[in-house]
């Protein structure tokens, strides 16, 4: 379930998740890396992150692309609140897609998948301390990217 849930969170689009899940399977089938990987799940997990952000780069998301089935079950805000919330989430994901591959993976694994730096370190074969600094740098860059985006005129303007 984790790969699916991860793709759902990173795309916020249930239709895309289905396609990406298929593509992920096929990529993994064709890749020699999965056989060679020390931890096949970690390999698949990173492949899923990269695939989802590849998709984000290619797709200009619209607000309505968030399916109801991907919304948190516990909250039921009104339509306007949902739209605003979705827009904010899309913005932060779009900005994340512009980070370097490592920074993106660290942000996703730590803040979205709620993994500890020690756990991420094992997956990525990096020291937790190093990952903390990558994460800090990534957050600063995200802040700059989001601020820059905010100053852009909207399409309607």
């Amino acid at each position: 379930m984790r790969l699916h849930a991860l793709l759902a969170r990173l795309t916020l689009s249930q239709d895309a998740v289905g396609d990406l899940m298929q593509e992920l399977c096929l990529r993994l089938c064709q890749s020699r890396g999965l056989d060679r990987a020390k931890d096949p799940f970690a390999y698949a997990y990173r492949a899923a992150i990269n695939l989802a952000f590849e998709w984000r780069k290619k797709t200009r998301l619209k607000l309505e692309s968030l399916d109801e089935d991907c919304l948190p079950v516990q909250d039921s805000p009104g339509p306007l609140a949902t739209m605003i919330q979705v827009e904010q989430l899309q913005q932060v994901l779009d900005a994340t897609s512009r980070l370097s591959r490592l920074a993106r993976e660290v942000v996703v694994m730590h803040y979205i998948e709620q993994e500890s730096y020690e756990e991420i370190g094992r997956r990525l074969d990096k020291k937790p301390q190093y990952l903390r600094s990558v994460s800090a740098k990534a957050l600063a860059r995200l802040r700059r990217l989001l601020a820059a985006d905010k100053s852009r005129p909207s399409e309607k303007e």
Partner: protein, 438 residues
Amino acid sequence: MSEIDEKEIIHRLEAISKLKPKPEVAAQDLKQVRQSLAEQARPEQATQQNVWRIIMKSKITKLAAAAVIVIGLVVFFGNGQATLYAQVVEALENARTIHAVTKNLDNGQWEKNTEVWYEHGKGIVETSWRDGQKTYIRIDNGKYMWVYRAGDDFAKRSKTIDPMGVARKLLQVDSFRKQAIRDPSEDKVVNGIRYLAYVRSNPENTYRILTWLDEAKRVRGWEKIRLLDTGQWETYRIVEVEYNVELSPKVFTPSFGEDVEIVELDTKLDEHFDLDDALFTKEELGLIFAVHELVRCDEGLIFAVSSIRPTDTWRDTARAESGRFGVWHYGSFQFGSSWKRLDNYGRGRSYQPISLAEVYQADLQVTWTLFLPQGFEPQGPQECEFEVYISTTGKLREERTKDGLPIEQNFKSMAILPLPQEQIPLQQVMDDTYTNCA
């Protein structure tokens, strides 16, 4: 409005972490992905479609359980029987001629579906049938391939795509790389020759393929069998194979009727989208991106025809090494908006791309695109800037990954080309695009 701080960013990321799909949706989709995986493991009849396209077109594209996916991959794509596979491939390659016929069960009747003739050094002919009528012919002599569909007044000629690959696919040879298990209970003797049975089934055991090899490890036939709701097994597709029979040389002659014109597809596209005549070319990631046409339309729009193809070096290497059956497709591209800040007040300009059409032939992708300039002075832009996201695929991607080279990249300003002053009506451009694509 206040500046976004890091706390807010973390808050939003954590909000994303709380999103989850409904369990019933996931459960339903898990089932569908399993089916899809089983489908993928099931070798199909020789058609020109590649697996990617079949899967991506499929509606069975929903959610799945990660662990099951990974386990599924190991089960379906392990290569524990490489030795037997190598023997089966070798036996097939040593055959002088092959003649195979597949039949489908249709309303209780066996109907011929595909017929294939192969002769070493001469090539392969594949025909498809429906209701007793030939609907499709493909002839591949190892140099060129001709494709003709019944009813057309033209046949397409293009470069060869691996005649032996067609035979391998039709005879389910790849199943011996996967999980074919020896099943002596299904062995049989035909005309005094002993046929050894191998079986594969899906995880739910609702679908089986029985394949028979002779002592020389040649595929002698296969049957696809499914479990009916009544609990009974039904054979619904079979293939019968003959080896080293005499084939008429006429079989390999690309003759489709007096009124049928042969269209040189590769030549046409190559001529039409010749790199020497392109307005712009640039080599990136083992691929060549080119802009062939740039038009200023009315309504302030810009129209461009662009393409991507592998470099000659990569194309030749890959073709020589490739044993794959299907279209060679090594990469694709998409346009970005080339957004650029104009001042410190947040104003910018961009070219919003609108994709009109795409054509793939062999390893060439051609795209027709409209660009909508935004944020420019009323007289419009005098040039067009192309932001291009290039992504390698397939074998090229594999090789570049292995070599530690980039496999995808966004080129923020790939090209800046001057726009012609003359305006062409959009309607005319659209009409031409339709004609060219057709």
